[in-house]
Amino acid sequence: MTRNLYQPMNAEIVETIEESPTIKSFVIVPDAQFKFDTGQFVELTLPGEGEAPFTPSSSPAVVEKMEITIMKAGRVTGLLHECGRGQRVGLRGPYGNGYPVDEFAGKHVYVVGGGVGLAPIRSLFLTLVDRIGDFKSVVCRFGARTPEDFIYKKALFGDWQKLQGVEMKLTVDKANGDWDGHVGVVTTILNRKDVDIANAVAIVCGPPIMMKFVTVSLLDFGFNPASIYLSMEKNMSCGFGKCGHCMLGKYYVCKDGPVFTHEQISKYPNIWE
């Protein structure tokens, strides 16, 4: 019989990490090696309860375990947040097309992320850092609602800032505590001089409203729509372009995406909804 597309691989949660009041990361060890490309997604099953799509936040170079960062947004993610170490789960995938990192070689990589959108970006970032010499520069602009809402705080406020070849700016919508950084939505820290736009690609991942306005700014700066890579969040269910829930115009986000260039999808309405 042909391989069963719907069969999950068994896996186990070995560690949970509180990232923010509403976001947790789960370190998951699959029963067998699980390879993926950065930006691809998996369907994570909480047995008996349901399944939801997530882009792993760990480096694809690590195949024996993966990290998935999950925001409490609905029923399944709410239940996942109650899970601890030892919880058995299921994994299907990886699905779709991730970031075409090879195509970024020789260019400036302008990475704009917000909120839980930093999860796929972390996986990409770790991939970029592994081969930092391939790129002209890696310029990151990340935002969160408040300083507490930033995920991966330790790396973000520490090691990542010091990496050679990486330039990073952070902002929060609303400052509190001892935050002495920039305050304002992420578009307020974007500048057309951040990178040489003619030789740059932009990667955008975050809440739809943020992606919408960041894309507007990037287009205004003169970015080519074919050089703006967007991680689209739709209702991906089967993972292989059959069940129909995630259709965005002619595309199945699960199979043709979840990473699309703005050029590919701009003609369809409601892409940010």
Partner: protein
Amino acid sequence: MEMAFISRLKPLLDAVAKTMDVYVPAKVGEHYTCRKYDPSGITEPELNEIRMCTPVKEFLFPLRELAAVFPEPVSPKQVKPFAVFGLKACDLRSMEILDKVFMEKDFEDAFYIARRRMMLAISSDCSPPGESCFCNILAGKPYPEGGFDLNISHVIDGFLIEPGSAKGKDFLFAHAGMFGEVPDALLAERAKLREAAQSQLKQITRGFLLDAPVGQIVEGGYNSDVFDEQARTCVECQACTRICPTCHCFYLYDGKQQDYFTKMKMWDSCMRVGHAQVAGGANPRKMLGDRLRHRLMHKFTYFLERYGIDMCVGCGRCIDAETGDVDIRAIVKRLNDELLAKGQQAVKAAT
């Protein structure tokens, strides 16, 4: 054996039923539904004039099925051979469409394929076509030209049986004693009957003829008001998608048994308000008009672009089933007329 004659259908069905379950049309009110054939019955089986209500997808992609068991996977139940009798040309085309989806290279749906391989498709010519039939608008014909194992054409005093596959030929060969020769006169009669059915169909669909390829018409009508207008009468019963032989949206859900977990697969409908909604609440098709547009776009432009054929066979089941005055023929015709008017305006503006 290329073509055979048989005077009664019962011996043919009895022969098929010796080795497999056979599903046949059964008239309920004005329509045909489907039931299992009982060879011990004494009545002669009926040949349906037009497609049954039951879409053929029910046999290949059932309403609900077990898709996975875990943590210990179990081998799926072996599918036994089965035959469906009374399929029509539109049903065969719908199978071609579903094949594109469920047999797509590298993403083959093992459950669909297992059933597809075990199915013996016995089709027949339409005569006369139904009031909601419009396959001719979409380049279809009221008789099958391929995709069947056996096709039956009703002629005076009997039936012509045409094989369309190795399986069909093998069957005719193995039961050669049951069949008679086919004189040229019967072939001529079949051709005449087919021509008559085509003329009748033309008459039925005369108000829905299109002036351009349907994909172009529907794509051109993206911003038409027709979708929002139709949304005023549509009652979101989803019958159109459930009964459609080509609609194939499905929903995966998880279940818990005493000592194992399940993943189930169940038909879904793009007309359902939450169909495209994500966990955070965002929904790109929350308006009914957007969902109606998406359904039409998927059928006539997106699917065509992806697989090279459109995703509607003109069977008219959605027209018979709908409760809210939404007629797919009328929508496409309206878009056709709007496109035509736009073209005329453009010509006028240029001259």
